[in-house]
């Protein structure tokens, strides 16, 4: 009964989405206020229907209803309650339902918080969001219905993939999806602007917070995924340039470019067509990511058993939305007249440079990710493109990006000179150089990590210099500067903090460049040494968990004759899934991680792998700081309070 209810709510949401597409778009075209006004309640209704549908699915998971195919395939009665709940979106059908639910949530948010939008623009944005919903709801109902029944019901389910039974899974996909779907909103704004044929500062003011929110969530989602891989998979790495990781990086990169160019639209009314194009591509990349993950065309560690028919459907959706958007773009883009003019050396120029470099990195990652697919389809070659390619090709592009991101914020709008900026950054340059030399000496002359540390110092220093400059720290003294700091717009704080976060991240990456690992078969009582610590295996014993059994090692980490840590990595065995998982043990003091993994056992010896990872936590700390900066910028006064009314075309402002 509950399953049928959920299915019904899903179908109802599809009908509401149809109405949400047709009525407001027609209304905006015919300037019918009543039709336009229908958009907001329809968006709200669609959200409620989908929320009900999702609640039904969650209920089915919690009570472990084995007459529902999706539950049978992905759940089991012995699973802890938390993972029964998170298991709702730990599979294709459920995660897709979550995707459309978040999309509907964004639509509802536009209709609630967008009251001060011009009614035609709001109607068109809601209409385009409705159209996106229609596509994905059709996809869900047609190929991936989570409420399908099975007869006769088996006694129990097949269990959730044990590797997904982790709190990381509870958070990673929803954050990522909010990011992906956030770009659906900027896409809808871009399409609405193309239909209306105008983009102005007010449009930029509405688009920027959405792109900022999407970016902050995507940043947090990617970082969480990377952290999860680090502690759950037990390979000791944090990023593998795996196609599915790249699929989330592509919209993030374009989103980064969009975030910056939207500022130019808002402040200077320039780069309009470019920003529209970025908004379209950002959503295209989000769809591409969904396609890559769900179709299984690429060989990836994330690949779950998938269905080519679904891939084809998503590909069709991707083509439909993108082709439509590009045709509209080609037809209407000339209507966007730039009004702000700027010199090449200026804040705008720096942002153009940022966009250029970020888009080049995107192009590199895109080609590297999709090449195996094309090589197979066109030439029948089975090739793969691994981390060495991505490192080699993106590093030379990241270097100028980091150089420029320090200089850009210190430049004035419209026209700038390079020399005064260089003068204000000389102490930062000295700092970076000192960082380079120190890192070189401390690491035993490892050049690449030292370059990384130099850039980390450079970027963080420049963010501080930016704040010092804005508060006038060196001109008016500490007390006055402190008072001024409170008055700075939060967007300025947000930007400086996010940039500093990039520096922290760079330091973490550089630190991981100096990581060591060691692997050995040890009998209890035996030890090995790594990075100034002695690691002694004390014992290996059996442990019983709720739905698994495990072999757990106890390792004493000894420094200068004293036990400083006791680590207990384990290897779990899940009988339902007939699968092992690795439970890593990590001890961190924020400056370094000690990381231990237990492998197979044989002849009374256990294979123990240990890692010494300098500055590893800084990677996720940096990403968290970046997301925080985005959030702070989102809380800026001009986002919260004022969305100024548009000056009608031709009217003279009083």
């Amino acid at each position: 009964m509950i399953a049928e209810l959920g299915h019904y709510a899903l179908a109802l949401a599809l009908l509401l989405a149809f109405a949400q597409t047709a009525l407001p778009l027609l209304g905006a075209q015919s300037r019918d206020a009543r039709l336009m006004g229908a958009g907001a309640p329809l968006a709200l209704g669609q959200f409620l229907a989908l929320a009900a549908s999702f609640a039904c699915l969650m209920h089915l998971y919690v009570i472990n209803d084995t007459s529902v195919l999706n539950v049978v395939q992905n759940s089991h009665s012995a699973k802890p309650l938390l993972y029964k709940i998170t298991g709702t979106w730990g599979n294709h059908e459920g995660s897709l339902l979550l995707w459309v639910l978040i999309l509907a949530l964004c639509g509802a948010a536009v209709s609630l918080f967008g009251r001060n939008l011009p009614s035609a623009l709001r109607a068109r944005v809601l209409g385009v969001l409705g159209l996106i919903s229609v596509g994905f709801l059709l996809f869900t109902l047609k190929t991936s219905n989570p409420f399908e029944r099975v007869w006769p019901p088996p006694p129990d389910g097949q269990g959730l993939n044990p590797i997904l039974q982790d709190i990381g899974l509870a958070m990673h996909p929803p954050l990522l999806y909010v990011g992906y779907v956030g770009y659906a909103v900027t896409f809808a704004f871009a399409i609405a602007a193309l239909i209306e044929g105008r983009v102005d500062a007010a449009w930029g003011r509405w688009v920027r917070p959405w792109s900022l929110a999407a970016w902050a969530f995507l940043t947090a989602g990617i970082a969480l995924g990377s952290w999860w891989a680090y502690y759950e998979l037990g390979w000791g790495g944090y990023w593998f340039w795996d196609p599915v990781e790249n699929a989330s990086l592509l919209p993030w990169l374009i989103g980064t470019a969009l975030l910056h160019s939207a500022i130019v639209v808002e402040k200077r009314e320039a780069l309009k067509t470019w920003t529209i194009l970025l908004a379209i591509i950002a959503f295209g990349m989000s769809l591409l990511g969904t396609f890559l993950v769900r179709s299984g065309v690429l060989n990836s560690v994330h690949s779950f058993a998938n269905d080519p028919e679904r891939g084809l459907f998503i590909l069709a959706l991707l083509m439909f939305y993108l082709l439509g958007a590009f045709i509209l773009f080609a037809w209407r883009a000339q209507a966007m007249v730039p009004t702000g003019i700027f010199a090449p050396v200026s804040r705008e120029g720096a942002i153009v440079l940022n966009n250029l470099l970020v888009c080049s990195i995107t192009a590199v990652v895109f080609v590297g990710t999709l090449w195996p697919m094309f090589a197979d389809a066109l030439m029948g070659l089975k090739v793969s493109v691994g981390p060495p390619f991505f490192n080699a090709a993106s590093f030379p592009l990241v270097v100028p990006l980091l150089l420029a991101m320090a200089i850009g914020p210190l430049m004035p709008w419209k026209r700038a000179a390079l020399w005064p900026v260089v003068q204000r950054l000389w102490w930062v340059a000295v700092l970076a150089l000192a960082g380079f030399v120190l890192a070189l000496l401390a690491s035993g002359e490892r050049v690449l990590p030292a370059i990384g540390f130099a850039f980390a110092a450079w970027v963080i220093g420049a963010a501080l210099a930016d704040l010092a400059e804005r508060t006038g720290l060196f001109r008016v003294g500490l007390a006055r500067a402190w008072a001024r700091a409170g008055g700075l717009p939060r967007a300025a704080w947000g930007a400086a903090i996010a940039h500093a976060g990039v520096g922290v991240l760079a330091a973490g990456l550089a630190g991981m460049g100096l990581a060591h690992e060691k692997l050995a078969a040890l009998a209890p009582g035996q030890s090995m040494s790594l990075a100034g610590h002695e690691w002694r295996l004390e014992e290996v014993r059996d442990v019983v968990g709720p739905n698994y059994t495990a072999r757990r090692a106890t390792i004493s980490v000894i420094r200068d004759g004293q036990v400083v840590h006791v680590m207990q990595p384990s290897r779990r065995w899940f009988p339902v899934a007939r699968q092992n998982t690795t439970e890593v043990s990590i001890r961190t003091n924020m400056m370094r991680d000690l990381y231990a993994v237990i492998g197979e056992e044989q002849d009374g010896k256990a294979i123990i792998r240990i890692h010494y990872n300098p500055l590893a936590p800084w990677i996720w700390l940096g990403a968290a700081i970046m997301a925080l900066g985005g959030g702070l910028s989102l809380a800026d006064r001009r986002v919260r309070v004022s969305a100024p009314n548009r000056v009608p075309k031709g009217a003279v402002p009083a």
Binding site: S303, L356, L357, A363, V383, P388, A392, L522
Partner: protein, 180 residues
Amino acid sequence: MKVSSLSSRKRRRMWILLLCAIGLGSATALTLTAFEDNLVFFRSPSDIVAERPGGERAFRLGGLVEAGSVERESVPAGQRPLVRFRVTDGANAIAVTYQGVLPDLFREGQGVVTLGRLTPEGTFRATEVLARHDETYMPPEVADALKRAGHWQPEQGAAPAPATWNTLEPRSATPGGPRS
């Protein structure tokens, strides 16, 4: 002086175009040079037997882990453990050595993809054994290798039981045949 009479908008546009050209050009150049060194080819055991590739370049070897072939060498304490196994596509099999912790989903009878080099003796020395998240997942290259060796039609059902791989007769590859 034609140049100085260009309007500032035109000049700005030229600047942007120039920058775009530089950016795109450098991205292309970087991609191409990095491609040359870093493309990793996939080979099935039969490909290796047919091509006899040299040992200078790393490549990926994929297939099924032959039933009963996994041997863990007994090593003195404190040393890196060594695992030997054979990767087969039904027609040919290649001996593989690996020093390290096998991924959680490594099992006899399952699809596997390894990265490494061929030694002059013809063993494959793997530096990476790739893990999967999902037990029922078959890496596409491995599925393809099995299909080429005539052993498995994915649409006809699950992969054949591991114990039978060395005795399987190549089947005629007609779609829609009886389910195995």
